[in-house]
């Protein structure tokens, strides 16, 4: 999704893609080369991205031709129509996949292009998820507090504080979403969201 989203903004090289993913996620995990290039290859085979011919921009290079080791070879990738479509689909998804740890960060980074109701759904799902973890952690810590040494305790307390902070952060975001959205659906039916 990160690759699709970045290429949706502008075509670019693999190398720059890598750098941008890094800053996009705020300096946490960066796509290794061993993931990046195979991923680009796969996406090209899937028809989501293509490599425009630098000599003739109306044509694209065939997916099987260039191993291009030897001479000079910069490869600019661009989104195809299918790729844009795929990205739009991802932006519309509001299910559990969107709020799990691995995906939420990237998903959130493209929130500006996501519909307000989907944003709210994802934020609430994410908060529920993190609250679960917080409660589990709290319970486990309460149970074992006296058996743990100073450092294990400190580590778990720090972890608990972190998830707690994330819950508060998400709550602020949700509040913000709600007041921004209120103007539109004013006092319309607001069933307390059966939490299913």
């Amino acid at each position: 999704m990160a690759i699709l989203g970045l290429l949706n903004q502008a075509p670019m090289h693999g190398y720059e893609l890598r750098k941008r993913v890094l800053v996009l996620l705020g300096g946490f995990r960066a796509l290794s080369y061993g993931s990046l290039y195979p991923a680009l290859k796969r996406m090209r085979e899937n028809g989501w991205i293509c490599v425009p011919d630098p000599a003739d921009a109306t044509r694209v290079l065939p997916a099987d031709a260039p191993p291009l080791t030897g001479k000079r070879g910069k490869v600019v990738y661009a989104l195809t129509a299918e790729g844009k479509e795929r990205f739009q689909d991802l932006l519309t998804e509001g299910g559990p996949e969107a709020w799990e740890d691995e995906r939420f960060g990237v998903r959130f980074a493209f929130f500006a292009q996501t519909e307000a109701d989907v944003r709210l759904r994802i934020l609430e799902g994410r908060r529920r998820r993190v609250e679960e973890r917080r409660d589990g952690l709290r319970a486990s810590l309460g149970r074992t507090r006296e058996r743990l040494d100073r450092y294990t305790l400190e580590l778990q307390q720090h972890g608990l504080d972190s998830v707690d902070r994330e819950v508060r952060w998400l709550s602020e975001l949700i509040d913000h979403e709600r007041v921004d959205g209120t103007q539109i659906d004013r006092k319309k039916n607001n069933p307390p969201a059966s939490t299913s």
Copy 2:
């Protein structure tokens, strides 16, 4: 290291090992089965761990014998002398490997068994590392602040706050280490650690 450290406390099954690693790290990443069992196999081949014969505890089962699919098969793993040695070596390590993201958590979880000077070295290394990230993030955020949409900004700010919090946490721990350690090496030579 997590496996060695847990088996150092008591022999146990792979399944329980998995659960304990999960709580050890405070509910973040849990060893998948696809990592766990191959890892145990490797460690057994390396001679770090063994499987005591349940019938005769003085003997251990050979490393190649039991695929044991079919009947009943619980496999209890225990540390060998080499395994204990290996774990002690890891506890002594105070280099950069000990303070990188992936390892620091586990490393810290076993701090109670680590020497005071090694603890301090690791904490300071870790703090330096996290400060670098914080400064990089801050700089990048300052440079691009006005170009970012509300959500990307929010994400990066939250990330920055998180690393900032970690720096403060580490600083508190370091202060604590210093006052606890002072009694022992009183006013001995304290060269300012050439930062190399």
